[in-house]
Symmetry: C2
């Protein structure tokens, strides 16, 4: 797997990609936000094309939205030689990519990630999918996009909360793979981080890991640090009042503290690193209010994690700064303690 990721102004990268291709049709997927803020910068770069606009937000990353996309593809009479271009964050990329991967058993697609989160995470590695009955990315496929075109300029269209959410994956990449960089970013205020540089850094780390283990048989699982409990927390609050809903990165930030505690309790990292991580994350993200009655459902949700085997809940845990182990079995009572630690 040699994935093409280009970090450049979209006018250049998209032009370069399309040059010399002979697609029968180009088809664009966007959501209501990216249609308004990003699509206008892209529209004129493309030949005449149909556009389908889905509702924004994780709660719409489901089979019903896929049906909407597949219907639009069918109406446009897309054949196997067509190209799908997904303009948006992780939801549009994961879902539009999945729709392309499944339509007529798979047609070409290009991702134009427009959020920090999707630029540093979803864009690389070919994981596509949708949620199903409340379980995150429960249905999906592994398919490498024909190209990923990242333009940091799109970040200017983002609300600050969205940008902060994406930053969590950058933090994760430093923690699991680059101790030196972790030692730098933790002393820089969120507002002063250098996004173009950090995007390139995160993409390089993720590419390296994914190329060694495309289908997540082993090593790739380290990218899931913070995600076992993080996903459970995210899914749990997705079903609650809209005001309680967490952005993906916010939930992963919670998960990273909990799972750093697990790493510490298993003597894989020292207290100093644990303290560094929690101080930095609390300072950047604040603390999410988790009530006693949230704990049981959060624990139950970890049973659906894709890394599990049989009844074992398996984590990817830090075993030093810039280093991560995978397939670490964790019991329910250990998880319970990690949640308590976060709450305390």
């Amino acid at each position: 797997m040699n994935q093409s990721v280009v970090i450049a102004p979209i006018g250049e990268s998209l032009k370069a990609f399309l040059e010399g291709t002979a697609y029968s049709k180009v088809f664009v997927v966007a959501d209501k936000q990216t249609k308004k803020y990003c699509y206008p910068h892209i529209k004129a770069l493309l030949p005449k094309h149909p556009l389908v606009v889905v509702e924004a937000g994780e709660e719409n990353k489901n089979l019903a939205s896929c049906e909407q996309i597949w219907e639009a593809m069918t109406e446009a009479e897309l054949d196997r030689h067509a190209l799908v271009i997904n303009i948006g964050g992780g939801v549009v990329g994961d879902m539009g990519g999945f729709c392309a991967a499944v339509y007529k058993r798979g047609i070409d697609f290009v991702q134009i990630p427009t959020t920090l989160l999707s630029q540093v995470d979803a864009s690389v590695g070919g994981k596509l999918g949708i949620d199903f009955h409340g379980f995150k990315n429960h249905l999906g496929a592994f398919n490498i996009p024909n190209s990923v075109l990242i333009d940091p300029l799109f970040l200017q269209t983002l609300p600050e909360r969205e940008l902060r959410s994406g930053f969590a994956e950058i933090v994760k990449h430093c923690l699991i793979a680059d101790a030196e960089r972790w030692g730098k970013i933790r002393f820089v205020d969120f507002e002063r981080q250098n996004w173009p540089e950090l995007i390139a850094h995160s993409v390089a780390i993720k590419k390296k890991v994914v190329e060694q283990d495309p289908t997540e048989k082993g090593l790739r699982k380290i990218l899931n640090f913070g995600h076992t409990l993080g996903h459970a927390v995210e899914t749990h609050f997705l079903g609650k009042a809209p005001s309680k809903k967490l952005f993906h990165g916010e939930a992963i930030a919670v998960g990273m503290i909990m799972e750093s505690y697990l790493s510490f309790s298993k003597k894989m990292i020292d207290r100093e690193l644990l303290t560094q991580i929690e101080e930095f994350i609390f300072a950047t993200y604040g603390k999410v209010a988790i009530a006693e009655e949230d704990i049981a459902p959060i624990l139950a949700l970890t049973r659906q994690d894709k890394k599990n085997k049989g009844k074992e809940i398996r984590f990817s845990l830090l075993n030093g700064p810039g280093s991560c182990a995978f397939d670490v079995v964790v019991t329910t009572s250990e998880m319970r303690k990690a949640i308590d630690y976060y709450m305390a």
Copy 2:
């Protein structure tokens, strides 16, 4: 791609497959027919397992049935290390395989094809999928099953019409790849064909083609002989009165006559071969009543064929006995003439 296909009594082949595996759970998909007639021969060979039973028939090869299967998989808390076993004809195999290929981005699955059609066709090649809005196999994936276990004894559970339908794909395999065998089977009455021998023959041909071109970029398209117009005819009558509904092989038989006529009209085969084919097919399948008003919708349906490029309708056509070309562009008026020829 090296696909495992075993032709043997199911008691032997299933036991041999499971030996030494360590699946976290086995999950079985069947339809109402195969649950009654085939599953009883298999149940005791498996460890304790959940079973989901879908409605039989092509009209249920859709997203709603997939949702039913995915719900059952989720309720059973299947993890990535689980095995799905699909017991049934092409509908269960294509759909259960697709559900496994997409669940948690893909888990292992084994096909136990129980109809002649699925034993000689759907079982090999990794094409999975479902129909969508009336278009056949419009959504799907390419995924190789971990094994295909073919037991010719299951054919005894089939109604004769079902067996005859499956025979059409055997005829197709002879026509596109084995002139000598075509010269033999055309002199044998349907009732006296040697099924175990013909299954092995068809599987060998299909395997050889598919291994050279797994994702149908070129050569594999020859397996679609008879299927461009055949699929259109099948899809068209799917939407009509139940009494008009055709079995897949019956529609392909119609398609093979029409497309042999196209091959003849393009001077790719001589009149003698065309006559041989139509005489044999009419003798085996009779003639389907196609009315004047059916023609326009049938022609329109060919526009959705997966082999097309842009506005071009592309066929796989015979260019001699036991030989087939692909990507042959055919115009609407040529298709119209082929339908007229069949009707005359």
